[in-house]
């Protein structure tokens, strides 16, 4: 019990992101409204981004910018432990762009669907399709 609790507390960031992914997937699967689905999708994507961001972070470390005043030989003194890992964060810049673009395309498609059927409820759209 204690072990579980401690794993929960020390790695709470992972649990948060698991929770977020689940919320997102739930909305994506269970909700019948297209915009709610889109929101769910975006939550899930954001959760993945958060996960990446959190794996780059380290306790007690700082942003990875080297102080130039140390001169050239300062490079040898750089300790990786002092800095957070920048790579996941850089990657996530791209992933954020991707997720925003996906959101944009999804909303555009949703608008098109709305123009076509006059509703965003899947059940009603399905009813209209079945009718034709």
């Amino acid at each position: 019990m204690e072990a579980i609790l401690s794993s929960f507390l020390t790695k709470y960031n992972y649990w948060v992101f698991i929770g977020l992914v689940m919320i997102g997937l739930y909305a994506l699967i269970a909700k019948r409204n297209l915009v709610k689905k889109i929101i769910g999708m975006n939550i899930a994507q954001t959760a993945v981004i958060l996960f990446y961001v959190s794996i780059g972070a380290k306790q007690g470390s700082t942003i990875p910018i080297l102080d130039s005043s140390h001169g050239h030989d300062a490079h040898h003194a750089v300790q990786a432990i002092d800095y957070i890992n920048p790579l996941p964060h850089v990657l996530m810049l791209t992933a954020i762009v991707v997720s925003v673009a996906t959101l944009g395309v999804a909303l555009a498609l949703a608008i098109k669907v709305y123009q076509q059927y006059g509703t965003l409820e899947e059940d009603e759209i399905q009813a209209q399709i079945d009718k034709t």
Binding site: F51, V105, L109
Partner: protein, 502 residues
């Protein structure tokens, strides 16, 4: 120049895509020639890369000169070399062939259409060429986003289908991204070759196992592997014809390539086949996919929908063949990536030509089509025969490898599923041929008295010449790929398969 072929593959279409947008604003007439020139250049570059690979082995290119692990590299070997050529060729041919339809349907949006088209191709080429696991994700999303937009341009249910595709596609890509995140956590690198080097030490860790499962699940979703195929039939069937003849042959096949790449290069066969002992169950899933895809295809009377279910079955062919884990099976799967791209392209292009002339979309609307569109139907027949697996079309030879793989692995369920699916395909295509050939019935004995003229004296209403030329080229390609199957396998596919696999 030659050293940059692999970069040109991606840079040229990327740059031209923006030029096409600008051309769309200034003068729409420039859109098509620009796109065609870009894809032609891409095609030539892909052939150039392949030739280089053939000569010197693996070609590596470091974007902007940054070497891994800092930079992103393009890495072309025998496996993606042939996939690149297939993508570039299909994209170019489809662009040329569907021009009449595109210019008629999207006269006001030519710039947008061709920009998306080229970007999609760029994405697919990038997915294939890249040597970086994260870069792969970004390119998957580029290809997917442009694909959603292109499919959404269609009429009727296209936008809804595209939105559903987007949901599934995003989930698939996110799963893959998560898997890559786990791999990064475990190894600290994203470069495929580095990953492969560092993973063996930690094969036993649960992190790697989770990464593996997430990647595989994401890719199965993206490739439409039954039962994760739900998005595929709607999206491909409702897409505009010129788009479905691009995405249907390429997108699922490229995703299968990614699976092969991730399994062979990143996780290595030792892990995928020997450690996990996953092969058997994956092949059985593939068997289910093949059988289910065949039945679903049988259950619909709508032409394009039927073809999309055939794709679902074909995905089963390739996944099953790969997970057999032996030389013949993997060769068959890789060969089938190329062959299936060619034959799916052939039938979808013919379907596009048919639908352009015919208002209806069910196979019952194809009555009398052999008389009306003899060339189109001839091409459709060739494509159909290849999908059925009649020699000397290429479909026979990949099926040959797949079945020999099944026999070598002693997996008779897979063998039976392949044969069953061939027979169902026979029924599927001859059902169409019958309708197009026999109906509408005449009252007496096949309309005597016409001498040598066309059947029933129906006037010929063929597709535009440009389409016909491309279609016939595609049909001839099916024979060429078939007759050179031995050379393709010996020249390329065998180099791909790791030495440990028998």
């Amino acid at each position: 120049m030659t050293a940059h072929y692999s970069a040109l593959l991606i840079v040229v279409p990327l740059v031209v895509a923006f030029m096409v947008t600008i051309a769309g604003w200034i003068d729409k007439r420039w859109c098509f020639p620009l796109s065609a020139a870009a894809l032609l250049a891409t095609f030539l570059a892909s052939v150039g890369v392949l030739a280089e690979v053939q000569q010197n082995g693996v070609v590596e290119y470091f974007m902007a000169g940054w070497e891994p692990p800092v930079g992103i590299n393009l890495r072309v070997d025998h496996l993606n070399g042939i996939v690149l050529v297939a993508i570039a060729a299909v994209a170019l041919l489809n662009l040329l062939g569907t021009r009449p339809i595109v210019e008629k349907t999207y006269a006001d949006r030519l710039g947008a259409f061709y920009t998306l088209y080229i970007l999609l191709v760029t994405g697919l080429l990038g997915i294939t060429a890249t040597g970086d696991a994260f870069n792969l994700y970004v390119l998957i999303e580029i290809a997917a986003l442009t694909g959603y937009a292109l499919i959404g341009m269609g009429p009727g249910r296209a936008s809804l289908s595209s939105l559903n595709y987007l949901f599934m596609g995003t989930v698939g890509a996110s799963l893959y991204l998560l898997g890559v995140g786990y791999l990064y956590l475990a190894t600290g690198t994203l470069n495929m070759v580095d990953l492969a080097a560092r993973l063996p030490e930690i094969y036993d860790s649960r992190l790697v196992l989770s990464a593996f499962i997430l990647c595989l699940a994401g890719l199965c979703l993206k490739m439409g592997f039954f039962p994760l195929h739900a998005w595929l039939p709607n999206a491909y069937a409702h897409a505009p014809s010129p788009v479905s003849s691009l995405v249907a042959p390429l997108v699922t096949k490229v995703m299968i390539y990614v699976m092969v790449r991730v399994m062979l290069t990143v996780f290595t066969p030792v892990f995928a086949f020997e450690r996990l002992q996953l092969g058997g169950s994956m092949v059985w899933l593939a068997v289910i996919a093949i059988v289910a895809g065949s039945f679903l295809a049988l259950s619909t009377r709508r032409l394009k929908r039927m073809l999309t279910f055939i794709i679902v079955a074909e995905v089963g062919y390739m996944v099953g063949g790969f997970w057999l884990g032996n030389r013949a099976g993997i060769s068959g799967a890789i060969l089938h990536i190329v062959n299936d791209a060619a034959m799916t392209f052939c039938v979808f292009l013919a379907a596009a030509a048919i639908q352009q002339r015919n208002e209806g979309e069910t196979i019952d609307d194809l009555q009398g089509l052999f008389a009306k569109m003899p060339v189109t139907m001839a091409v459709f027949v060739v494509g159909g025969l290849s999908i059925i697996g009649v020699p000397p079309t290429c479909g026979f030879f990949s099926k040959w490898y797949l079945i020999s793989g099944g026999l070598a692995a002693g997996h008779y369920g897979f063998v039976a599923a392949l044969l069953f699916s061939s027979l169902i395909n026979l029924v599927l295509f001859f059902r169409i041929f019958e309708i197009a050939f026999f109906e509408p019935f005449t009252d007496h004995h096949g309309g005597h008295g016409h001498g040598g003229e066309g059947v029933h004296g129906v006037a010929i209403e063929e597709a535009p010449l440009q389409m016909l030329v491309v279609m016939v080229t595609a049909a001839v390609m099916l024979f060429a790929l078939g007759l050179y199957a031995g050379d393709i396998v010996e020249g390329f596919v065998t180099h791909v398969i790791p030495a440990g696999i028998l």
